[in-house]
Amino acid sequence: MDEIFVTFFNNDFSNNKLKKMIMKKMTPAVMRSFAIAFALFTTTGPAMAQSNPSLTDPEVAHVAVVANQIDIGYADIAIKKSKDGEVVKFAETMKRDHTAVIEQAAALAKKLGVTPKDNAVSQKLLADADKTKKSLNGKSGKAFNKAYIDNEVAYHKAVIGAVEGLLIPETDNAELKQLLQNVVPALKAHLGHAEMVQKNYK
């Protein structure tokens, strides 16, 4: 674990239960990605006085949309590269479901008159996703399938932790909160599905 990660968990998060939950659920690499993103945000964001990362609703909406787009990006690579029917079927479900979530989020944002706002958390997530995509694109065959599905397991664990532990508590608007809550069971089903596929690559 590198220094910024440790710093994040020691200083920036006051909620012990959340800390434990995220520690338990995330694998180090993805955990680091989210941790750095949140740490970055708190040191550059407007709410430094508060001990928890603070996001406005337009920023929460943006993080949610970006997190979904990232998984669609991974799915597109898998649909193009994988020859394992189970992996492709999983990737198609990721693309279909995460697209549906984005459509719901966009419809809600429009209804509420909210414009999703770019922020340090979404930027960091995108930057890390670019690295992961490069790495996936450099692999093929069984190595690719394993790398893709391992990343899907880790990514869904991290996103579930972030949605439950950060985005939902940070959201003020009741409808946006409800949408995020509605997405959690789908994320958990995706995680279960990913773990099923992952068993073939142990």
Binding site: A186, G192, H193, M196
Partner: protein, 122 residues
């Protein structure tokens, strides 16, 4: 006169008796027919909510109708497990699909294989 009265009474008793005997079994026959011969179709609803079939297990009679309603925001399907002998095909959000039950079966969602359900015919 008394003789004819006697026979008429006998006839009346006989008619009443036959009527009584034939009435009771007829009613029994009717109720048996309802159970087996011409079954009355019952209708059931299984809701798909939060990535679950609710209820996940249901017991019905052959010929009953089950309607699946997708309340989630993602597309699901309902497919015989493991044989895939029947399927709803893709069932988008807010849509429903009905089937008439012919036999017991386990089913799942091929899009989200952790979602499972069971229909028992009794």
């Amino acid at each position: 006169m008394s003789r004819s009265y006697f026979f008429r009474s006998l006839l009346l008793i006989a008619v009443l008796a036959i009527g009584f005997i034939s009435c009771a079994p007829t009613e029994l026959d009717n109720s048996e027919e309802k159970g087996a011969g011409v079954p009355q179709q019952q209708e059931y609803t299984i809701e798909i909510k939060q990535m679950k079939f609710i209820p996940a297990e249901i017991t019905v009679h052959k010929g009953d109708k089950i309607t699946f309603v997708n309340h989630d925001l993602v597309t699901h399907d309902i497919t015989d497990d493991p044989g895939k002998t029947w399927t709803s095909s893709a069932l988008p959000a807010d849509e429903s699909w009905s089937m008439t039950v012919t036999q017991s079966s386990n089913y799942y969602c091929t899009l989200h294989p952790t979602m499972k359900g069971k229909i028992s015919v009794e």
